[in-house]
């Protein structure tokens, strides 16, 4: 368990998730985590949701709150309708093949393939997480004002970490469609962060690079009223359309019939 005490606002959110899902939520520190925090929803083997944090510090409270907000969105979808975003082999292979061409003669084929898989998988992770993440950030801004100081620091840090993705050298390393979609999502993140934090210059790099219109369209999608029982899936599909990657993935039931 984390030793740094979670702020009362975070405990409140965790209790809400437990009430909606009917299952406990455990929070633990895992120093080896590759991301700042991650969420492991309950499954057949583990009848508790698990939120893992890489560091046990003050910012950990915000990361836990953020993962809990995402979890709340997840458990509000009826279990039989829950789905996982899954790779589409043809799309994956197309990205890999483009990367192999870009690096022909410069990287061994196996290495280029590995790089291509990373680009494809990374883009799918972004697609799955950034849209719902924007909703979670906004929800926390409204529901837990006492976390706003931490939120501002975390959002600003994240925007700063994303900015190097605009570097023109990236265009020579990765397929254009991957780069454009990824930058578009980062731009949406930056424009919303700029608004929540009250620092418009945070979005300046993306405005200068011509991503403002796309970013605002993506943000608008996250504010639309959902028409189905799974708002995240609906939003991700809409983002994928706008980003030109609609046929790059499929949805698979999270709980196959025999498990339910």
């Amino acid at each position: 368990m984390v030793e740094h005490a979670l702020l009362p606002a975070v405990t409140r959110i965790l209790q809400r998730v437990e009430a909606v899902s009917g299952l406990p939520v455990a929070v633990a520190q895992e120093p080896g985590l590759s991301t700042l925090a991650t969420l492991k929803p309950a499954n057949k083997e583990r009848q508790a949701h698990l939120i893992l944090c890489r560091q046990d510090d003050e910012a950990c409270s915000y990361h836990v709150a953020f993962e809990a907000a995402l979890l709340l969105r997840l458990v509000e979808v009826p279990q039989e309708l829950r789905v996982n975003l899954t790779e589409k082999r043809e799309a994956r292979e197309q990205v890999v093949s483009q990367v192999e061409k870009l690096h022909k003669g410069k990287l061994p084929l196996a290495r280029a393939r590995e790089l291509g898989l990373r680009f494809y998988n990374g883009l799918m992770v972004q697609l799955r997480s950034i849209g719902p993440g924007l909703c979670a950030d906004r929800w926390l801004f409204e529901q837990a004002p006492e976390l706003r100081g931490l939120q501002a620091a975390v959002l600003q840090e994240q925007v700063q970490q994303n900015v190097p993705s605009l570097n023109p050298d990236i265009d020579r390393l990765a397929p254009a469609a991957v780069v454009k979609a990824s930058r578009g999502m980062n731009a949406a993140y930056a424009f919303q962060a700029a608004e929540l934090v009250g620092l418009p210059p945070l979005a300046v790099p993306y405005q200068a690079a011509g991503f403002e219109a796309l970013a605002r369209e993506l943000i608008a999608t996250t504010r639309e009223q959902a028409t189905t029982a799974d708002p995240d899936r609906e939003m991700i599909d809409a983002w994928a359309e706008k980003l030109g990657i609609a046929r790059w993935y499929t949805w698979q039931p999270a709980y196959p019939a025999e498990v339910c």
């Binding site: 890999v96 061994p108 084929l109 196996a110 290495r111 393939r113 590995e114 790089l115 898989l117 100081g149 501002a152 620091a153 600003q156 840090e157 700063q160 900015v163 190097p164 605009l166 570097n167 023109p168 934090v197 620092l199 418009p200 210059p201 945070l202 300046v204 790099p205 405005q207 200068a208 690079a209 011509g210 403002e212």
Partner: protein, 376 residues
């Protein structure tokens, strides 16, 4: 809250022209450069601080840094020079630093930065002279001591290097760069245990320092490969995870290859591990019977599994693959990867330490060897 300093680069061609006056939208033109500079000055204007916009090779480099309360002319000059140093634009930074030093010969930051620059450019005599002056001006300047140690080490002067690095550590016992560099000096001089101890201290302060991890692994393997094998292997795996495509990752993979080769040789009496020969032979046959698409599907899946590390000397390991039936030990998977890589790039070694077994399998296949495959 305040905004952190930021810097980024975009191409002139990708700048959103609609943000500029109509007569200033032609990339590369003086009007475009003026208008882009005005745009950024205005965009960051409300934040105060300083905006630098540089146009070079069709790119726009933007640096914004917040205002400092006590910005002296010297501090402002250093603020302008620092981004150039970070981008290793030494040709532009050097004359500015030299001018600053002419005006203030005892400016320790100018001495330090010009010394570092000269050291990076290979001007080692000049670097050492400047860094000695920096240390003389401020004997408590640990970073200058470290830089002097590095420059002296590059100039083959181990005595001055050691003295400077030890001084730096005395000033800052937790300076990871000083600890790591002293570790390198000691191991190069043959003091492997002492060097390893410095690398450990460096890693205690900076656990993600991949260079220190790699150096410690190297030192441990030289010290006693039998005793330190597992610790070294764990360090190398961490380096590969941190730098999968960089030079450090390549060095770590090469070292792991040596470890694996040693493990394999030790496990066999005749110098070849027969189970690995059998697995390689089986992989050769399987791949021969596949078309290119099937082969690529298998090799990409196996390579992905191998990314997380294979324990080739653990007989208990058993995994399943989507693209091939049966259960697979990590050694069998390593053989699949090695044979697959050989098929794609025949002149490269996978670094898994199976090259000799692979060669034997190829020989057996050529003479019509009849060894049974693992599932045959």
């Amino acid at each position: 809250m305040g905004m952190q300093a930021t810097s980024f680069t975009i191409e002139e061609m990708t700048f959103d022209g609609t943000l500029l006056p109509e007569d200033s939208r032609k990339p590369g033109s003086a009007a475009f450069h003026r208008a882009v500079t005005d745009y950024f000055q205005q965009a960051y204007g409300a934040m105060g601080g300083r905006v630098d916009v540089v146009f070079a090779h069709g790119r726009i480099e933007v640096n914004w840094s917040p205002a400092t309360e006590t910005a002296t002319p010297t501090a402002e000059a250093m603020a302008a020079i620092t981004p150039l140093l970070k981008q290793r634009r030494y040709g532009e930074a050097r004359p500015l630093l030299e001018a600053l030093l002419e005006a203030e010969p005892e400016n320790r930051d100018a001495l330090y930065n010009l010394g570092m620059l000269a050291s990076d450019e290979g001007q080692l005599k000049e670097a050492r002279e400047l860094l000695r002056r920096a240390v003389a001006v401020d004997p408590s300047f640990a970073n200058a001591q470290v830089a002097l140690g590095v420059a002296a080490l590059r100039d083959q002067d181990q005595a001055e290097a050691r003295q400077a690095l030890e001084s730096a550590i005395e000033l800052e016992p937790g300076n990871p760069y000083a600890l790591r560099t002293l570790g390198s000096l000691l191991t190069a001089a043959g003091a492997l245990a002492a060097g390893a101890e410095r690398f450990r201290q460096a890693l205690a302060v900076a656990p993600n320092d991949a260079v220190a991890s790699l150096c410690l692994a190297q030192a441990l393997l030289e010290l006693d490969p039998g005793e330190h094998r597992d610790e070294a292997d764990a360090l190398l795996l961490r380096v590969i995870e941190q730098h999968p495509f960089g030079e450090l990752g390549e060095q770590a993979k090469a070292l792991r290859g040596q470890v694996a080769a040693r493990d394999l040789r030790q496990a066999s009496s005749n110098g070849l591990r027969q189970d690995a020969v059998t697995y390689c032979l089986d992989a050769l046959r399987r791949f021969q019977a596949m078309d290119h698409a099937e082969f690529m599907a298998v090799i990409s899946e196996v390579a992905a599994v191998g990314q997380s590390g294979l324990q080739i000397n653990e007989p208990g390991t058993s995994r399943s693959l989507k693209t091939l039936p049966g259960r697979w030990s990590d050694l069998a998977l390593a053989c699949l990867i090695h044979v697959g890589m050989k098929r794609i790039t025949p002149n490269e070694d996978s670094g898994l330490g199976i090259e000799a077994e692979y060669a034997e399998a190829v020989r057996l296949q050529a003479v019509g060897g009849t060894q049974q495959g693992p599932f045959g």
